[in-house]
């Protein structure tokens, strides 16, 4: 039998104190790959809402924009706020790799506050729009897409909060920056997705 030539390990030490180190078969780090795959999933979730948007705007030709025009200027400022938070996020990342604890703290707090400002302006905009999701299908799509994005900003902020806690406890440094890098990648995704949402919803 072919298999007989393979020695079968029969004696195993059940009090082995840990697993053997897994072979790293790819240059990509597993946490980074995990968050990238999750982002693919998230893009598809947005994709489904964009599909709804195109169906309702193009196929069933419900009037667009809902209400009397969308506040493009406000959303544009919001866009700038979120994009600058990506810059500070990157700065935080770089500071972690250089072990600049002070820059890291300033960076993560700035990023967090910028994200919070975005969310605050977005909610404020909702209250002054003059229409609600119940008004029409276009209004539902508007609230659906921007609300979905807002929920992602909220999740991003939650992740940033966790990173901030670890940074302020001095647990992040050049050798321990996955806990910052992974939320950072997610934050960049949230920002990039806003550009797409902003362009399709407000500009087009």
């Amino acid at each position: 039998m072919e298999a007989a030539s393979i020695p079968t390990p029969t004696t195993h030490d059940d009090h082995h104190h840990g697993p053997p180190i897994a072979n790293q078969s790819s240059r990509v780090n597993s946490e980074v790959l995990g968050i990238l795959l999750f982002i693919i999933s998230e893009i598809m979730l947005f994709g489904a809402f964009f599909a709804a948007y195109f169906f309702i705007r193009v196929v069933s030709a419900d009037g667009w924009p809902p209400g009397e025009g969308l506040p493009v200027a406000v959303a544009g400022i919001n866009c700038a706020i979120l994009l600058s938070s990506s810059v500070t996020m990157h700065w935080t990342d770089v500071s972690a790799k250089r072990d600049n604890q002070m820059a890291m703290r300033i960076g993560i707090v700035t990023t967090f506050l910028l994200g919070l400002t975005f969310l605050f302006i977005q909610i404020n905009e909702y209250l002054h729009l003059g229409f609600t999701p119940k008004t029409s299908a276009s209004a539902s799509v508007f609230f659906g897409l921007t609300g979905l994005h807002g929920a992602h900003v909220l999740i991003g902020l939650l992740l940033l909060w966790m990173s901030a806690v670890r940074i302020f406890k001095g647990k992040v440094g050049p050798d321990h920056h996955r806990g910052l890098e992974v939320p950072g990648i997610y934050w960049h995704f949230v920002d990039a997705m806003w550009i797409v949402v902003f362009t399709t919803i407000y500009v087009l």
Binding site: E2, P9, P19, S25, G34, S41, A48, P133, S136, G144
Partner: protein, 635 residues
């Protein structure tokens, strides 16, 4: 008692769940009071918020988030592997990070829901045994077949494959565990949450969800509150499968043993790689469709309300953009199982290994281009039909490549006709029949003729029962010795196969006929002309139902008292069979090295992987070299 509530486990889960209900009650009444909505207390509102929130409290209570919360609060976390491995049966009811424990948790949970879903099928057949009303009123009937389909799709076929792969895949690629063991535990624990939620819908006022497993809007928007159980349970089942798929992908990409190139991976690993790609890309679409339904239901959005400018066809597009790939999610892992079983039990390399792998990827790609063939009669634009018909016919090509490769694998092999092999060969025959009726259904004229008839029911059961379930049985029998260390009863296994195989066909083959004659599906009553066939179908289906009890009995008895199986009862080359049965707690003492292909059966001295503790020289044998002792090559 107080100490027990502080520890992660069932007591804390119960306490947290009660806390969760109170939280939702407070949230709902608080918000309604703040916005001056009358009345302040609304049961449906509390219920819908609870359905979304209480599971999270439960998961927190049982201990899925403990490690992460400790990490997030900035404490130093040390993984001491305290939650790894099972020492008694009680550990299977706890949060565990061992992929082998999670695999068995998955398999047992999904079979539990399989038996409940199967029981509902029996109720459906009992109602349909004769024309007119037998046991249940039409609305209950709608609920029963909806829960039947939903349980078997979301709580059985999809997760049981994840369970088998969870157990086998890390062993196969030489990894000590999955890439994210705690995420793995979380994805398992979301499953019972989803399943129990679906079953609880029977207690909801207005009955269980009854809009079919497709839950088309606007029917699902206007249905009684039971429908919300479906909408939200599917979110948990979907989140569970996305998390598992992501875990599989990362594990396969980053944790293969040295020497395990992509083209040395067993086909089961390839199959789960492809499936996981499908899950990660497609599943968010069903999540989105159900989000829109719940927004319409609970908050008065207008996604599917034509009066407000909404588009009901959009639901079907978004839903099927997930749910067509989902049929491949329910089939591709089975393809992998069959490749393993056939190669091992016919002692031959899998024919066309690379084409087998590429055709899996082709199915993944093509699977995204065919969704609207479910909508030929929906009233969508006519021009979409023809491209969808063509792509649907094309997808039969990679599937055909696989079927012919399996047959070529069997060709002149030394077939060992035991239970896993019988189910594998039975699968090839049944799946081919289901595939052919699938190509028939791709043709627009025929599809229009048999839309919403029993022809569809026959087709879907030939691919999901004769296809997926047969591969699941094959896989369970095949890896049973590895999981339990004991051998199942072969006579009972064979009896199970033949009863299932024969009465499966007696049940579902006549449905093609009565379908073409026009018997509508999803209706609790039918014209008298179909009475004879329906009686035959019902009787046969009860035999199929009883045959699963033989399977259950065999599994339980063999697990307790079966003969010891040894580490490699099938003389397989792949890595999972080279460790003891059941495998040691961390799988390996040292990671093995892969030195050859996984299916070099019939090549003397061929080795797939070597272990560090004794390094035999890998025997290099040129492909196709004649071998003296292997019957399939001496002709």
């Amino acid at each position: 008692m107080a100490a027990k509530i502080r520890q992660p486990g069932w007591y804390r889960a119960l306490a947290y769940s009660i806390l969760g209900v109170l939280f939702c009650l407070g949230l709902s009444t608080g918000l309604r009071a703040a916005f001056a909505v009358d009345p302040v207390y609304d049961g449906e509102s509390v219920l819908q918020i609870s359905l979304l929130t209480v599971p999270l409290f439960f998961l927190g209570g049982i201990g899925c988030f403990d490690y992460w919360l400790r990490w997030a609060s900035g404490r130093t976390v040390v993984d001491d592997h305290a939650d790894h491995g099972a020492k008694s049966w009680r550990d299977y009811f706890k949060v565990n990070t061992d992929h082998k424990v999670i695999g068995i948790q998955y398999i047992c949970t999904s079979f539990f829901f399989m038996f409940i879903g199967g029981l509902m099928a029996m109720l459906v057949r009992a109602e349909l045994a004769a024309p007119g009303r037998q046991f249940v009123d039409p609305n209950t009937y709608n609920g029963i077949f909806s829960v039947h389909a939903t349980l078997l799709i979301f709580l059985f076929v999809i997760p049981v494959f994840a369970g088998i792969a969870n157990y086998v895949l890390p062993l196969m690629i030489g990894a000590p565990d999955m890439a994210f063991p705690r995420l793995n535990a979380l994805s398992f624990w979301m499953l019972p949450v989803a399943g129990v939620m679906m079953l609880l819908s029977f207690l909801a006022p207005g009955g269980s969800f009854a809009a079919g497993w497709t839950a088309y809007a606007p029917l699902s928007v206007d249905a009684p509150i039971g429908q919300a159980f479906f909408t939200i349970a599917v979110q948990f089942a979907g989140a569970s499968s996305i998390a598992t798929a992501l875990n599989f992908l990362v594990t396969i990409i980053t944790m293969r043993a040295p020497g395990m190139t992509f083209f040395r991976m067993p086909l089961l690993v390839w199959a789960n790689f492809s499936t996981s790609l499908l899950v990660v890309i497609a599943t968010p679409f069903i999540a989105a469709s159900q989000f829109m339904v719940i927004l319409d239901r609970a908050l008065g959005f207008n996604f599917f309300n034509p009066a407000g400018g909404g588009d009901v066809l959009m639901y079907q597009h978004v839903f099927w953009f997930y749910s067509h790939p989902a049929v491949y999610i329910m089939m591709l892992p089975g393809f992998g199982i069959i490749s393993e079983v056939l190669a091992t039990r016919s002692r031959k390399p899998v024919f066309g290994y690379r084409m087998m792998a590429f055709s899996l990827l082709a199915i993944v790609l093509l699977g995204f281009t065919v969704w609207a063939h479910h909508m030929f009669v929906s009233g969508m634009s006519d021009w979409i039909r023809i491209p969808m018909m063509i792509t649907t016919a094309i997808i039969a090509i990679p599937t055909g490549i696989k079927i012919f490769s399996w047959i070529a694998t069997l060709w002149r092999g030394v077939l060992k006709m035991d239970t896993p092999m019988l189910f594998a060969i039975g699968f090839i025959a049944m799946f081919t029949l289901g595939g052919i009726s699938g190509v028939m259904l791709a043709m627009v004229p025929l599809d229009i003729h048999v839309s919403d008839t029993y022809f569809i029911v026959a087709h879907i059961h030939y691919v999901l029962f004769g296809g997926s379930l047969f591969t699941i049985y094959a896989g369970i029998y095949f890896w049973f010795p590895k999981m339990t260390g004991r051998m199942f009863n072969e006579r009972l296994g064979k009896l199970h196969f033949w009863l299932t195989f024969i009465f499966f066909n007696v049940t579902f083959a006549p449905m093609h006929l009565i379908g073409v004659q026009g018997m509508p599906r999803r209706v609790s009553d039918y014209a008298d002309q179909f009475a004879t066939w329906n009686l035959i179908i019902s009787v046969a289906s009860f035999v199929v139902g009883l045959s699963t009890l033989i399977f259950l009995y065999n599994m339980i008895i063999s697990w307790r008292t079966g003969p010891k199986a040894g580490s490699n009862p099938w003389n397989s080359l792949t890595i999972e069979w080279q460790v003891s049965s059941p495998p040691p707690i961390f799988n390996f003492d040292a990671i093995p090295s892969v030195v050859g292909g996984p299916y070099e059966y019939g090549v003397p001295g061929a080795v797939h992987a070597v272990f560090d503790d004794a390094k035999p020289e890998p025997v290099a044998v040129a492909a196709g070299a004649s071998a003296d002792a292997s019957p399939e090559e001496t002709d």
